[in-house]
Amino acid sequence: MTALLALEAVSYQFPGSPTPALRAVSLQISAGQRIVVLGRNGAGKSTLLLLASGLARPQQGRIWLNGAPVDYSRPGLRRLRQHVGLVMQSPDEQLFSASVWQDISFGPLNLGLSAEAAQQAVLEAAAMCDVTDLLDRPTHALSGGQKARVALAGVLAMRPRCLLVDEATSGLDLWARQQVVQVFDRLVAQGGTVVLATHDLALARRWADLVVVLHEGQIVVVAPPAQAWADPAVRALIAPPEVWEG
């Protein structure tokens, strides 16, 4: 079966950085998967998501979308963004419009949808993220949890098949976090894929089908949580011993 998204020996080094952020990383992402990316700060999690969403271009290696190499021309990137959506770490960095309604409508209109189709996409995404009652609210008057769900709705309104989430659940209380995870579950139930970069081990253990552990820009393991947890070397890369003892 062709992977929805595939990274093949991808490397990336930020300008001015002495070391590469990612080194020869290969990963296959299929439809309907719940993937959690773990690793220490600076391990390359955010860079992996930037590359997978086409926001950065690999200096080596290739990225494949539905079996075809990603085309970095404007139409090619539009096609990629129809399939792959990225939710940023901080909602304040994503929400740009003064009203929730207008912010969520931004993505669908950029995809070339008509006003009616975009309106329908906004309403569907708002319902999916439980923010319908916030549509006429200003974005700056939302709570942290509400902002996270609105930011999620802004990406889901583009109806991506693969959702990349960069630590968007960090800083949320347990209730808000659960609401966001429920949105992920709804997307997966509809055949979508969620790739979540996080430090939340409990969430990774409970929710993921697959964990990807990154260390110094390289993938150390791709395995179901129980299998990854069983390896002491992998455990040592994910968290300090005290965490595992707890």
């Binding site: 959506g85 304040d92 960095e93 740009f96 419009s97 207008q102 931004f106």
Partner: protein, 257 residues
Amino acid sequence: MLRVIDRYAFANRLRAVDPAQKAGLAVLVILLCLTLDRPLVGWLALGWMLAVAIWYARIPWRVVIAVLGAESTFLALSVIGVAMSVSFDQPVAARWMTSLGPLWLSVSNESLQTALRLLSRALGSAAALNVLILTTPLVDLIELLRRLRAPALLIEVMTLSYRAIFVLLDTLEQMVTAQTARLGYASWRATLRSSALLGSRLFVVAYQRSQALETALHARGFTGEVRVLPLCYRIDRWLWPIGAVVVASLVVAGWWP
């Protein structure tokens, strides 16, 4: 004050009313205040606009008065300058005068009338503008500009600036709290130092945020133009007759012999 105005702009009885209707009334009142050269027009406009804001839009009177009060302070300072004359010679026909060393400060009947006329015009216009800003969020005004075919670049800059103001205000408050917790404002010297650091750091944060925002816009297919769906409004059928009464009364006050 900015947050207060913004909060009530989103939570008043006229919030969902078409901004064109509200802006139309405000612009008409301002034009009448500026063109009809009688103090009564300004005072009448002030009264009407306070009534619209407090009784019709249901904005708390304390908020309306606080906003008008802030503006009045600036207006009063300007009006004092217009009313008062300063000279080395003793004024001949002054309503009030006093000497300050070699200088004479005086107020004449003409200058007082000019000042009062200016004050009434300015207060009437300011009150009309207050009705607009206290009942209409900036997002609606931007939408109105879009409908009036204002340049897309202006609309985008206004949209992004409005959002950035609140993000930076939050950041500023967090930084000030963090500095205060470390005695950043405990003395005059510390205040100066902390303020300078705050300013420079805020600039860096603003730059970083703009970079992150650009990345986020590209992630949602941004191609150089910020396109969003228009907002939906209702027409307030009572605002028409209210507006007609206000305008008619101002015209009568301005032209009645």
